[in-house]
Assembly symmetry: C2
């Protein structure tokens, strides 16, 4: 770039438990030898942004990035200036609520053709989380139709992770049962859910009324404490109950013992936090990009804000905080103001 680069970023803190957003000038990111510097064009909000703000984290937030490569570090090959890319970022570094972001190239993937930045921004964090939960933690096989004959039960199928996890589960051959509010049943169906259950109902009764085999997996995409016992009761022998949310208290898992079953936690940032298998997240995103390109899965954005400002980011975060978010809320960042 010829002109002097200036950078601006958004910060989140909580005041009386409500998200407050501020914007300010920030330094241009350091571009290390293994990094790619990206001009951000699409971003999204995730519950982890709020969780980190609640913990007092002062970093620029934002875990999903779509953008164009500005320049690359000395060790980086395979990317060139102007190329459109996307990725889920690292918790230890500045995020995507900014004009410019740098990130290790291991995480970066060329975008599939024909998708807007705002739609692609729905995919990285939730898609990688769903993939890791299903295929690295809960033991399902990651290929088309591979898990045919098995049932997956998803608690909160309409949320950010649920909306892509149900698609990946269906692609991999699972029969998918998911809970949601009845007003979101059409959204579940569009995402591959075979049987939608009203989450207000007693889950054991509602599941048994379907006359399906016991689920080999139960994915709890919500606070797991109130669902642990019913998930442990329902899951099949040798099954897996999985969760992406830190439990607020102890978990009632006794029924898992005589079934020789497991409870698995999935946290996307664990790989970058631990510096372990980081490149696997780029590889997963590449597979997700291929599935998008082939039409096997689709973006999950339900609302796209045409511009990222303190006002729109605040509105997006407050929508998450109110609960009951459906799909993903994404932002076009090209018009950053």
């Amino acid at each position: 770039m010829d002109m002097a680069e200036t950078n601006r970023g958004f910060f989140i803190h909580l005041q009386d438990k409500k998200a407050v957003v501020t914007e300010q000038e920030i330094p241009m990111p350091v571009v290390g030898p293994d990094d790619v510097l990206v001009a951000v064009s699409g971003a999204s909000v995730n519950p982890v942004d709020l969780k980190r703000a609640a913990s007092g984290d002062q970093q620029v937030m934002g875990f999903d990035t779509v953008g164009r490569v500005v320049r690359t570090g000395a060790n980086v090959s395979g990317f060139s200036a102007g190329q459109k890319v996307f990725f889920a970022g690292e918790g230890q570094r500045q995020g995507s609520f900014a004009r410019y972001q740098s990130v290790t190239s291991k995480l970066v993937v060329a975008t599939p053709r024909g998708f807007e930045s705002t739609f692609l921004a729905s995919l990285p964090l939730t898609g990688i989380t769903a993939w890791e939960l299903l295929f690295e933690k809960m033991g399902y096989t990651a290929s088309a139709g591979a898990n045919h004959g098995q049932v997956l039960l998803v608690i909160n199928g309409a949320g950010g992770v649920g909306s892509i996890l149900t698609q990946l589960a269906k692609w991999s051959g699972l029969t998918v049962v998911a809970t949601a509010s009845p007003k979101n049943f059409d959204w579940l169906t569009a995402n591959g859910v075979d049987h939608a259950l009203d989450y207000h109902q007693d889950l054991t009764t509602a599941y048994q009324a379907l006359n399906l085999a016991a689920p080999t997996g139960v994915a709890i995409l919500y606070q797991p404490v109130p669902y642990a016992q019913v998930a442990a009761d329902l899951v099949a022998y040798f099954g897996h109950v999985g969760s992406i949310v830190e439990p607020s208290g102890p978990l009632a898992l006794a029924p898992l013992k005589n079934k020789s079953a497991s409870f698995d936690f999935e946290y996307m940032s664990a790989k970058t936090d631990a510096g372990v298998n980081v490149a696997s997240q780029g590889a997963i995103l590449q597979q997700l990009a291929d599935l998008l390109q082939s039409g096997a899965i689709r973006p999950t954005a339900t609302r796209t804000f045409p511009v990222l400002t303190t006002e729109t980011l605040t509105e997006g975060l407050h929508t998450l905080q109110a609960g009951h978010a459906v799909g993903k809320l994404t932002f076009h960042v090209g018009n950053l103001q």
Copy 2:
């Protein structure tokens, strides 16, 4: 056999929470087309015998059998009358505290040469349980030296499962840390434990004083409720906390979430209860037999009763009930009276 066969078996019930044993004549077992009928020569007591008695189970108990083949069902090949065999039995059928027992041939393995029945009776249930926990549930690789560089922490390393699990862990290359009472530290060392910890100490402090990497697995071979939090605190990123005991209440597992880690239950009888992968238990026992024969592992019997009577079985069960059992208590059943 030419003479008329008569069978006798031992029954356990609890009276004021103490095991009471009775002996009576019982029918000869039905020998189905896939079964092997065995004249029992060695048996052992396991905590599951007491657990089933507590639940009111009226079956003849006993999960470990060493014996000689008496006859085989129509579909069975590979076994012949007089052959010495051993196995861990099925929860749904009469057990080994009897003169004769029949069992599906899938579970039955020829004994390695040169071991007394009373010593071999220490192996099947605990060996299969330990193998499944380490290599099927907690993700370690089941071959010599394969897990070099990783640390396993074992809570209660001196008990029945612990005494063989530590040997298998060591064989597979793990650095093994185990808790016990100091009077049993020599027993731990003999079973391959690298670092013995006094279980009276604070476990976090004691582990940290070893200056080892975080354990990739924590095997809780005891009631897991009081150990869940400390295990979750200590275990490495992507690690596994495993347990073979049904929790008496909810488990504090929150620290596992940001590590993307798992909690796994192992229950040996789940395969026969569910009718799933039953033959795998014969295959595991065959590998254990090969390891015994090669000297890579050794039997874990610490006390062998020379005869199975109501008195000796009662004494064995009361020893288990008192807690702090070391290794395995086994019985010679050839002199059944």
